[in-house]
């Protein structure tokens, strides 16, 4: 006799702890700014601790850059840029190939540090973040001597010095998305990692040293929002690339008004994940879980609005809830962990505020029961039903492990509801009908549409948003365009 799903969840799946060892990690106590090929003390002398959100323990002291540091980084980047751009393209490529290889070589160390600094499960940093970061460098290295084919131009030139700001949800991966195309195109780059997750970017700086990337080609300037605001406004920056919230993106676009500085923005989302009645429902449930609980829901394209066709609503919710209760929340370094720590106290508070708004506006909340560690920042996977399209939890980006369920009757209604958002980053479609999937995919206003999968990324495939999710694309040949000018 086969066990019913209900019986199966009553079985206690007791895993022995399987922590990844961190004893091979040799972090310095202090990391300076990476400017002109060296680690340097910040001019203002400011060092701030970066903490492990799973333990609230400090990991290392990190230099924060001020405006003087930005100035010297720009100067160094400007000096290095013409030389870097005039390297024989294949030679420029070789540096990036080296970086890709070194990321692969140091992948275990990078994965552990990523998990310690940001709270994401090791399974994800090991299997997704680090391999994809290496793949991005490898992909764009190969573009360095083929640029004009990528943008269909007779001749191209780099833009100059680029300022890049990355978020804390995929720290090394986002750094790779930014740096690899910028450098391949012959620009030099100044990258600001997020204030809560600077470590892997600094390890990437070490990798640049090890790869003998010329001085000034890459600078890493940690800091908070003030550092970022100063960087995008700094004289001598020819292009700004930002990944983060729509509010900050709007500030940057406004600050650059009239300056002619080139800009690309990869901003927030409230992506719809649409389950049709003809979908393979067990597979869809796995996809829903991956869509919203991957990286604690700290994903700009997270499938945070779950649209279920009414005829299968109860069945999907029942299966989803069963599945959610099996999620293992806890020590991010444990190889069995599915949901790690929330990245910071501030982010935890934002999630709590929006979840409270969901309850007070009348949605029904279900949060899985699980033991959470005493220290650190945690939020257990949460499901909201009885959500109306006007509720804050259906409109605003929560950026946490919280999914809001809405329903629809017809395909047309699904499309209308999915598109009813100021965002347009991604969407998921669950159906086994090919023609329907293509039709719905083409009607959705979203930069990425996944059929029967979710949160799948590849360096060859463009990523970026419609509407207030930003403009410009990263990945593939489209990812070169923001870093090049076409010469006629």
């Amino acid at each position: 006799m086969t066990a019913s799903p209900e019986t199966r969840t009553r079985i206690v799946w007791d895993y022995a702890p399987a922590p990844e060892s961190a004893d091979h990690i040799r972090l310095k106590d202090r990391y300076g700014l990476f400017v002109d090929g060296e680690f340097k003390d910040p001019a203002g002398g400011r060092y701030e601790p970066t903490i492990n959100p799973a333990t609230e323990e400090p990991i290392a002291e990190i230099a924060w850059a001020g405006s003087g540091d930005i100035e010297s980084a720009v100067e160094s980047a400007r000096t290095a840029q013409p030389k870097w751009a005039s390297l024989k393209p294949l030679e420029r490529a070789k540096y990036l190939f080296r970086v890709a290889r070194l990321i692969q070589e140091r992948s275990r160390e990078l994965a552990v540090v990523e998990t310690m600094d940001g709270g994401k499960p090791l399974r994800e940093s090991r299997d997704v973040d680090i391999p994809l970061a290496a793949a991005h460098f490898f992909h764009y290295a190969g573009w360095a001597d083929k640029l004009r084919y990528g943008v269909n131009a007779r001749e191209v030139a780099p833009l100059g010095v680029v300022g890049q700001i990355v978020p804390w949800n995929f720290p090394l991966l986002m750094a790779a998305w930014k740096l690899a195309p910028a450098l391949a195109c012959g620009n030099t780059a100044i990258l600001k990692p997020a204030e809560t997750t600077p470590l892997t970017a600094l390890l990437l700086a070490e990798i640049c040293q090890e790869a003998e990337v010329p001085r000034g080609v890459v600078a890493i300037l940690p800091g908070d929002g003030a550092t970022g605001a100063a960087l995008v406004r700094a004289p001598g920056i020819d292009k700004v690339a930002f990944t983060g919230s729509t509010a900050v993106g709007r500030d940057i676009q406004s600050a650059l008004a009239g300056t002619g500085t080139s800009l690309t923005l990869e901003l927030g989302g409230k992506s719809a994940n649409i389950v049709f009645e003809d979908a393979a429902l067990d597979q869809a449930v796995e996809g829903i879980v991956n869509g919203i609980f991957f990286n604690q829901g700290h994903v700009c394209c997270a499938g945070s609005r779950l649209l279920i066709q009414e005829s299968v609503r109860d069945e999907v919710i029942a299966k989803l809830w069963q599945r959610m209760r099996l999620l293992r929340v806890g020590d991010p370094l444990d190889k069995n962990t599915d949901v790690g720590a929330i990245n910071s106290a501030e982010q935890l508070e934002r999630i709590e505020v929006l979840v409270a708004a969901g309850e007070s506006e009348g949605a029904t909340r279900r949060t899985i029961e699980c033991e959470l560690p005493d220290r650190g920042y945690w939020f257990a996977p949460t499901l909201f039903t009885d959500v109306s399209p006007a509720h804050r939890i259906a409109v605003e980006e929560i950026f946490g492990p919280v999914v809001s369920v809405l329903t629809f009757r017809t395909q047309a209604e699904a499309i209308e509801k999915a598109n009813n958002s100021r965002y347009g980053l991604a969407a998921g479609i669950w159906t086994d009908k090919g023609a329907k999937a293509f039709e719905v995919a083409s009607a959705l206003q979203a930069g990425v549409v996944w059929q029967n999968t979710y949160n799948h990324f590849d360096p060859t495939a463009a990523f970026g948003g419609y509407k207030e999710s930003g403009f410009g694309r990263e990945g593939g040949p489209a990812g070169l365009r923001p870093y090049l000018q076409v010469i006629r």
């Binding site: 943008v151 269909n152 131009a153 729509t246 676009q253 009239g258 590849d458 060859t460 463009a462 403009f471």
Partner: protein, 270 residues
């Protein structure tokens, strides 16, 4: 012998396929002709008409859009006599032809199949961004407008354009040429009036997806950028196109700024 009195033309705005006076009742005068001085309300009406036309225009086949733009070129060629500057008309017709040919080719140039390292058919295709605001330069009044309009339409967008302030009549005449072509109602909306007033109303409209500005006014460009930031609009600023080459050499960039690249992942196998 009594001399025949000419029948003078009443110039009108073109909104949602209809030739209308400004709702404000205001007018300005150029070269002995009165023309409507559009208001912010006219801008809103034009954006609403454009939004209504956006989906059906985007849903037409690329081949059909190409034929409609070709037909627009035909209509402009045959109304050559309306315009003072014949050379400018020639260039504008050629620009329309050039972009008529782009409708079914920009996908191959801007998009493609992504060789992803997983069992999926992944492809990226350009789609129209939606409703695009066009700020035409003062001169050349016809070619400068068509150079901005044609790529917007070829990429499947609809447009609300603010005509040359100094010489609005060629733009209003273009409306009459397009009005007898097959361009569907609302796909192109043309407004004459004071650029400052109208461009700001257009740039600040929350249901506009992009602004293409060739007015060559740095202060206005800064203001439009600031307004654009409110809803993360795509923007492009450039000088006026004064030749066929100006309007077509950077065709890929002109098309790119008003398209959204969509990446789709479809499973291969189980």
């Amino acid at each position: 012998v009594t001399q025949r009195l000419t029948v003078r033309k009443t110039y009108k705005l073109w909104i949602g396929g209809a030739f209308v006076r400004s709702e404000s009742g205001r007018y300005d005068e150029v070269g002995g002709f009165n023309f409507p001085r559009a208001s912010r309300k006219d801008v809103r009406d034009a954006v609403a008409a454009a939004r209504k036309a956006a989906k059906p225009w985007a849903a037409r086949t690329a081949y059909n859009r190409g034929q409609i733009l070709y037909r627009a070129a035909e209509a402009l060629e045959s109304s050559r006599a309306r315009f003072a500057d014949g050379d400018e008309v020639d260039a504008a017709v050629d620009v329309l032809l050039h972009y008529a040919g782009w409708t079914d080719k920009l996908h191959a140039v801007l998009g493609g199949v992504n060789p992803v390292a997983a069992p999926f058919l992944s492809f990226s295709l350009p789609e129209p961004t939606g409703v695009v605001g066009v700020v035409a330069p003062d001169a050349p009044p016809l070619l400068g407008l068509v150079a901005e309009l044609a790529p917007v339409l070829a990429a499947g967008n609809v447009a609300v354009a603010i005509l040359s302030e100094a010489e609005p009549l060629p733009g209003l005449d273009l409306a009459e040429a397009l009005g007898v072509s097959d361009v569907p109602a609302g796909v192109v909306n043309l407004l004459s009036g004071r650029r400052q007033e109208l461009a700001k109303a257009l740039g600040g409209h929350r249901d506009l997806n992009a602004i293409v500005d060739a007015a060559g006014d740095a202060e206005l460009a800064t203001e439009l950028d600031k307004l654009a930031a409110e809803t993360i609009k795509r923007t492009r600023h450039s000088g006026a196109a004064t030749s066929y080459e100006d309007a077509t050499d950077d065709a890929v960039e002109r098309l790119n700024v008003v398209t959204e690249l969509k990446t789709a992942w479809h499973p291969v196998g189980a």
